[in-house]
Symmetry: C2
């Protein structure tokens, strides 16, 4: 993989609203020339420096190229300065301790999936446009680095990692009996009767086996992902915009395509529907529920926040922003099956259900070449490998990677130019596994 | 003062952007019929309840009546859900202790200025549409109440109380020699050469004795206050808006009217110019500087935040939002002349300069009938009464009231229907003084 100097023409346009993961541009992306990571940092390019920044160094929400790489290297650490947000309160307690026990992992070697190229772990981080990474081993921070615009206290856009939070909350409500997985969606959301979801179950939404006409192909300017982003206010609507102006109105326009329950089909709108189900079932906003049930209980050190639409609805598909260490705390709570910070934060059954995963054959139909033998359960990606690893994944490289056997959790934020995990998986997944193996030898 | 049931026609339209104080509608306001406080709470009117809220109960940024009373009773506690914001980080330390030593002040009696009507303190809070109040005596919380949409952890719009933070930071930089009060504004902001500020000094900006064509008369839809609010993105610009789209561009269009240094003239744009001076002189954003020099050092229990314009510039005129207890902590630090939370947070000289006040004769020219003998220094309102009291003031009733003799600090957030302190001063100022007197007898 060669690094050329940056040119807009070589990059897939990626909107701020590209909060979403996608499979179908993997092959395209792997062959594209990528800009040099070191010369596209915020510092190197001088975005948003000075009062005011020079006009050509300003990043604004309404600029059509404002949210395209390399500006996202700044944007992803400054989302709330561009759009309305809802706070996820950490509560008043002290942060839970995260002790440091540094291990120099920089030289850990890995082989890139497919090409066999050898890289060190340190090289892999730069190659994947990492903004920050925390590696926990047995609950201690063995490795922590920040690059570019990210700092320890600053929330970063989690993108589709958001979905795994929504899925976890949904699984919690299911465990508690507040949300019935076998019930029809319309039992909670009668508004969805005449949509693709009119004959779907909650479980089908949780595991994304919904047949719905909705494309997340970023290369297609007519893909529904753009309509979704505009409706939710995650992308500028433009002055003559006449479409829906909130998530709920957009979702009520979704029509069926194919059958439910037949195959895994990754579509962000399912996470938005699930977020709506969670709100309706719990009677609380996503921000409030996450604060009460997770954020205040894991001892997060920073408030988190969600992007919200015009009427204050959080984006459950990709709108969460957290500090990196708090994402690691969440992962560590998952690794310990809910036991963390001196309490059972969530019931053990929630994690057992996620780790069991779902139907591999249904997953295989989606054609993720970098994820052979995986499945998708409660909005988590389950590897079924011999370490029992599972992940939350966001495009551009956001990740929570939980390796129970290695007693390891990796939280990573990144701003990769290509909006598809198929591009960074070939480096990231071997990197995570190499680090796990190195830590197991300690 | 009679309370009629709410009718839009009886209320001056107040935009979200009405972050500003104003003197010239006092008389009008005192004679206007006001809506019943109890029947205009968020709970009574049902704003923003449910997922989604019913269309007629939604509050949105782009709705022309969205930011008019009584919706502001919700809006002022939910600003970040409507507009972009910049975080003022509290740091990682534990909150500074604020011990409670409750005193029942509900029955303290006061006489309304002008009419002589007798009220209890509890009645005065409702009559002034209070959202929350904290009274500190000798550093302990003797009284703390929340009404309506406000809760202890939720930041509330501080409006023009913001200016006093900017003025304090400017006074700090002046004390440290980073910002020269006697220097021309253009020494720091050459961009302002061909504006009203082209021949003004920094000191004239700090004390608001600037001759500039700018009206804050909310009753006049053509007043410049609306242009200012639209430019800063605090008010919807509308689809055909062709004006400036950031604070700095708006400020560069301000023209001179009258002379500088002759009279106090309260105009919010001075606070925006001062905020710009503070950024340029310090090399830091307002949010960063406030976090480093104040918020992280007083042991705030919540992050605060600023509304920002399209290019991330904080509104120094009225965009700050804080939790109420943190506003009280800030006031207590002021009362102790900078000594707080085990350290000298700001130099004592900063407070001595503020408490000395400015020229009363220049202040008198502005005609504030409720503030006889006061002055305005470093964006603080100084009473020169026998208690040495001084205040930060925001329209709709936001206040930090510091009474050194009574060893009392009052922090109050409110959402009064009328955008002018002349309306709530007749109740609030006697209330604060009555509480001070009651506490001094203890």
């Amino acid at each position: 993989m060669k690094h050329k100097s940056f040119s807009l023409q070589t990059i897939t346009p990626i909107a701020l609203a590209a909060l979403l993961s996608v499979a179908n541009i993997q092959v395209m992306a792997q062959t594209a020339a990528l800009p040099d990571p070191a010369s596209t940092t915020v510092q190197a390019l001088g975005w948003m420096q000075g009062f005011p920044p020079p006009p050509d160094k300003q990043i604004t929400f309404d600029n059509p190229v404002g949210n395209v790489f390399p500006r996202i290297r700044w944007t992803f650490s400054h989302i709330r300065e561009l759009v309305p947000t809802a706070n996820v309160w950490r509560g008043t307690g002290a942060p839970s301790p995260l002790r440091a026990a540094p291990v120099n992992l920089d030289g850990v070697r890995l082989k890139v999936m497919g090409t066999g190229e050898e890289l060190t772990f340190a090289q892999s981080l730069e190659r994947n446009y990492t903004d920050g990474i925390v590696v926990l081993h047995k609950g201690r921070i063995v490795y922590e680095k920040y690059f570019g615009a990210l700092t320890p206290e600053r929330p970063h856009l989690a993108m589709s990692v958001t979905k795994s939070f929504v899925g976890t909350l949904a699984a919690l409500l299911a465990e508690e009996g507040t949300l019935q997985p076998d019930a029809p969606v319309t039992q909670y959301l009668p508004e969805m009767k005449n949509t693709a979801y009119g004959d779907a179950t909650v479980r089908q939404v949780m595991d994304m086996t919904i047949g719905v006409k909705y494309s997340e192909n970023y290369a297609d300017p007519k893909a529904e992902v753009w309509d979704y982003a505009r409706a939710g206010g995650m992308m500028a609507q433009g002055k003559d915009y006449a479409g829906p102006k909130s998530f709920d109105l957009f979702l009520q326009g979704l029509q069926k395509e194919g059958e439910h329950g037949q195959a895994f089909a990754y579509k962000t709108v399912n996470a938005e529907v699930l977020a709506w189900l969670v709100r309706r079932a719990s009677g609380k906003s996503l921000a409030q529920l996450m604060s009460e049930r997770i954020w205040s209980r894991i001892g997060a050190e920073q408030d988190a926040y969600f992007m919200v639409d015009r009427i204050g609805t959080e984006s459950g598909g990709g709108g969460l922003n957290t500090a990196l260490r708090d994402l690691a705390r969440f992962g560590e709570m998952m690794r310990n099956q809910g036991r963390y910070n001196g309490q059972q934060v969530l019931p053990k059954a929630v994690f057992e259900d996620i780790q069991r995963g779902a139907d591999k054959a249904q997953f295989a139909k989606a054609g993720y070449t970098t994820l052979p033998g995986w499945s998708y359960r409660n909005m988590w990606w389950v590897s079924h490998n011999d370490h029992g690893a599972y992940m939350a994944r966001g495009i551009h490289g956001q990740a929570v990677y939980i390796d129970p056997k290695a007693q390891m959790v990796i939280a990573r934020y990144a701003s990769h130019p290509i909006a598809a995990n198929g591009v960074n998986d070939p480096i990231s997944l071997p990197a995570y596994q190499a680090v796990a193996n190195a830590l197991m030898k300690k």
